[in-house]
Amino acid sequence: MSDSPDNPSASEPDAGGSGPTQRTATIDRPEGGSAGPSRVRQLLATVTQSLTPMVLAVIAGGILLALMGRDPIEFYGTVVDRAIFSESGRQETIIRMAPLLLIAAGLIVAFRANIWNLGMDGQFLLAVAFTAGVAPMLMPTLPRWLVLTLVLMLGGIIGAAWTVIPALMKAYYGLNEIITTLMMTFIGVNVANVLVKGPFYEEDPGRAFPATPVIEVADRLPRLFDTSIHIGILIGLIGILVVHYLMTRTSIGLRLNILGASPRAAHHAGLGVAKLTLLTFLVSGFLIGLGGSVELLGVQGYMRADWDPALGLLVVPLVFLAKMNGWASIAFVALFAVLANGGELATRDAGLPNDFILFIVALILIFMTVTDYLAVRRGGKGNPWIARFLASVGLRREGRDAE
């Protein structure tokens, strides 16, 4: 009969976050309305906490480069030169951000609702395949803007459709979506290949590989001003910011946050957990599918068999570092795009495979979990989203969560 304030149900994220729009958000800032210097300090601490793993990964990558007899300063110098200081490289960096932003938006929606949609690559690639197959069929008969709009929507719908099976299984039978979405990705990637080699295949003696018809450059997404940057970046930015606004300022976002923090409380409050779960999956899949369409219509122009950039898993650490905050996600996606874009040239110059960039991404993931573990062990706060993910797969972090 003690009047104790706590129960051992651990690891509900504080839905924490930082960023320019946090001034009044009730959802995002449960710690209370302290203002002034402490707020600034808190923000700084959050930024430091989030950036540390990236910095450590870059340093560790540098050490490895030195061990292999390359000059790390020169390597990273090339990365920055290419990705930020050269005009064409800068544009390329921005172009790369577009699909990543949409995937990030899709992941934030799901992760905040405690739904671990890890089937991004299947959703993404199927959307790419359908976009690549359908757009050339429509182009001759309909105006370009209409085709582009329709096909973008189609990509989103395909992405959403590919989540339906895991969504139903989660909503009505409680099946773990981490497993089902991953399995659906295996299937989805192969179905995309079947489509490219089958119904959407176009014979072209000039190509050594099966692929879909090529969309004329003039028929692709319009460019911004006189650059090579297509409007996909705008779609991406709008997508992630709308998601951010929805998740932090609106009733639907609050419902998803409650579902994420406590499904039982969501049921008790009459939020309609099954429908909410379905909705979350669909929105998440739609945004990711839209990302696929944008990438195809903006950059690739066609899809060749066995093409799979596997962007989805690259974005996962970024949204975790950003603590599911839209603004912070833009920053991390930009940092990653710089690394990926500049790294392409830098690895070539250094005589290394391009996969070296993946190695750095892996280091980011490792350092993210290690620094989080250390922060929690020292009695600090840690990243609540990591704790929540671990709890979802049946693991519990030591320290504060395990009390």
């Binding site: 009969m1 104790s4 958000a25 009730t26 609050l254 946050n257 409650i258 049921h267 309609g272």
Partner: protein
Amino acid sequence: MTYQNPAQTGTEGQFEPSERTPVVELQGITKRFPGVLANDDIHLAVEPGEVLCLLGENGAGKSTLMSILSGMQSPDEGAIYVNGEQTVIADPRQALDLGIGMVYQHSTLVPTLSVIENLMLGASEKLILDASEARERLEQLAGMLGAEVDPHARAGDLALGQQQVVEIIKALWKGTTVLILDEPTSMLTPRGIDELAKMIDSLKEHGLAVIFITHKLHEALRMGDGVCVLRQGRVAGRLSADDLRSLDNDQLQERIVSLMFGDESGELAGVAELSAEVRHESGHDPSAAGSGRRQHAETATALRIRGVSLAPVASSHGLHDIDLELYQGEILGVAGVDGNGQRELAEVIAGQRDADTGAIVLHDGATEREVTGLGISSRQRLGLRYLTDERHGEGTVRTMPIGLNLLLKRIGQEPFWKRGAVQNAAIRSYTESVIEAFDVRAPGPDTPIGKLSGGNMQKVLLARELAFEPRVVVYNKPTYGLDVRTTQAVRLRIREQAERGVAALVMSTSLDELLEISDRIAVMSRGRVVGVVENGPGAEERIGEYMVGEVAA
């Protein structure tokens, strides 16, 4: 049956307490925590065959004292004597070796293991487990307690009372001479408490010393040979066995209340909780406690539950053809041992669970509306409310601020959201007004609700369910785990709402509570309503008869 008791073999039941050395004696125990003096110069002694009740409000220092005795903490000052010898208890294992067994408030059993496995888990130091020896020991101890325990039952499947028996057996396993029970009745029903009292008597007869920690007055009077009252870390006073015999109940109540609450006792003397407890103990008519009880005969129906059934499953008795009618302004209590269908019924009414058959009908004057097919939030909007008994599990989202938790069931509605966009100013001012009106002690409206104490959290939940025109409210264990003052505040709210015409269905495992506030009391057993009793003289006895099944349904 022989019980090997290292302290005094072969003298069971026949002793003169005054001649014995205390099994455990504490002298001048002081324990400081940063900013708090948890125990201040405490002297205590307990003799074989004696039950010492340690009585005090939450935070009086009972738990600290017992964690010192069980080796979890060491005192800053003072000495501990076990069987007359000064001892330092360095860790819990040593406490066990010294014959000090502790039963904690919360279960320490592994739910997936069987009873016998749980017992061997704690006790055996041998590499190879000797199950037959363990079963013998279990039989011996169960016989001593006068209880029956199935050694092969899964611990998680046992009822709470049975689990507690296993916990006690676990504590006695190694030849314990002093058994400490920390608030053992908090999870028990009236009948379970009776059984516990019998077990304690039986332990006394076998010459064990028992320290019984509680904050309930009538339990202390009932079980204790001596009562020691703690307040703010000090011994505020003692009542010897002679005191308990010679004073009448009113005098005892007065003494203990003044010891427990000190200067505040004047303000608290009239607290119905305390009065009711003592009156109950002294056999007075409990119905006198509730004033202003209404006759429901003339008032209109508010809610009708017709033939509601739910198939039983492994973890639940289900519901069987429940028929209940609830009148406007009436408080209908639901008594019964926990886990006999109360939660299932509450959830069916709230819409959190679909019944297999039957109907829930909401009445409003002449109009009636069947809500059986409606969702949770539609029912909430119609004024059908459910105060859950799981404040942490489903009642709140602990990382979210008080304001959002207050509005958890009204998300998206004006004026707190406009076209879906959150209106922070409106939420804030509403939250502030609720904090004021319900006397919620919180740093501010943005405080995450998980940081509030259980009592304040309950006030927030109460405010949530009672806001925006409630018509029928299901209260599931509304005062469970709350301190005396908050308990009283909650009961006042329930009454106040009833006076406004709101119908209340109050589920509680505390019969005293139901007798204090209800107009009628329904008794649930194994998923059935076995009887409905008008509250008044003799109600308690009739409810008891229904609970043990002596009256045909």
